[in-house]
């Protein structure tokens, strides 16, 4: 039994010592356009900024009728602190952006923001 206890303690400290370097949890700092913004022209980019690298795995842009508008992204789904995607030219209306991503510490993240384009 004593040997089990020694194994237990040795393994505990071995695992503690080989633990990797610290990584942090990302949080969204801002969006482009800002949430709730009313724009007079179609936005050139749709984006988010994060305080730590985030791998954005899904982003969608839908209008008030639920129709989806494709976004062109160039991040290759790599971790980024500034995420930008190009939308097509958007007609007047209300739009919602939904995104999901994976922070460096493994936390799955999600968020939404909205903006309006006036005619």
């Amino acid at each position: 039994m004593a040997l089990s206890h020694r194994t237990f303690l040795a393994a505990f400290f071995a695992i503690a010592l080989v633990s990797q370097a610290a990584v942090a949890h990302s949080t969204k700092e801002g969006t482009t356009p800002p949430d709730g913004e009313v724009l007079s022209t179609s936005p050139e980019t749709i984006g988010m900024t994060f305080d730590m690298p985030m791998r954005v795995t899904m982003i969608s842009l839908t209008d008030q009728d639920g129709a989806e508008h494709g976004l062109t992204r160039q991040d290759n789904m790599q971790p980024v602190t500034v995420f930008d995607a190009k939308p097509p030219v958007l007609a007047g209306g209300k739009y919602k952006v939904q995104w999901r991503g994976l922070a460096e510490d493994g936390h799955p993240m999600q968020g939404t923001f909205s903006f309006e384009v006036t005619d």
């Binding site: 039994m1 040997l3 237990f8 695992i15 633990s19 942090a24 949890h25 791998r55 994976l102 493994g106």
Partner: protein
Amino acid sequence: MMAALASADAVTWLSICIKAMVYATTLLAAGLVLILLSVRTLPEDEDRRLRRIAVLMAIASAVFSVLRLPIRASFLMGGTWAGALDPMIFGIVLESPLGTAVALRLVGLGLILGIVSRNRFGRNSAALGTIFVAASFAMRGHALEDPRFLLGVLVTVHMLGLAFWLGAVLALLRLSWYSSPQATGAFAAEFGRKALLVVPVLVLAGVVTLLVLTGWGVALLSSAYSQFFAFKLALVAGILGFAAWNKLRLTPALHSGAPAAAAQMRVSLQIEAGLIAAVLMVTAALSTVSAP
């Protein structure tokens, strides 16, 4: 708190339920090993059955842990089932801290299977396995933040303490059903003595982890995370109350042969087990839909 849950989609709810099952089965597998290796008053027939249950829990934990990978992939693709099978997203999940945690847990669960053997190799393998599975919970999420070493040790200690407790509750429940009041009383008394050391360490590790994560400040109760945590603490207080009742009143009553003591112990343990299940569910929700 309720708003965070109300806005959760089907995949998030599935994720919460699977995560709670991972907690329960992993902690029971590791906890039963800790009980089998450290408590000497288990009757022989229960010792044999608890070894089998530990193996079953280890297998169930492996299945639930692996299930977390496609569910995470599905979440990352907007909650679609097609996302769960997307090779690129699945690869990203495998390379993420969740993949590392699951891999380490699977190794630990494999080692825990050594508990079927009573020889030195089996015991050492199972003991090593409990460390691996407890440490697997420190391989992801906020446990990876600075101070990484301290948080890793705290989370591992917290999980080991919790495992020991869960293992003891299951063993006590079975003894109260299938063994004599004297055997139950003897086990409860030995567990009670060990719990005097384990429980304060378990609670302290949890509290210090929370304080480190929140910057040694008291979090505002307005955030979903704080509300979840307050609810969890209330449940833990209830568990501690029942545990104290078991130790101070029911264990001596079992020893003295009081006729109703075994039935009372059984009811008390069932309520305690229900509260523990609630704590695991709340913790799964807490770590899925909110963050400190």
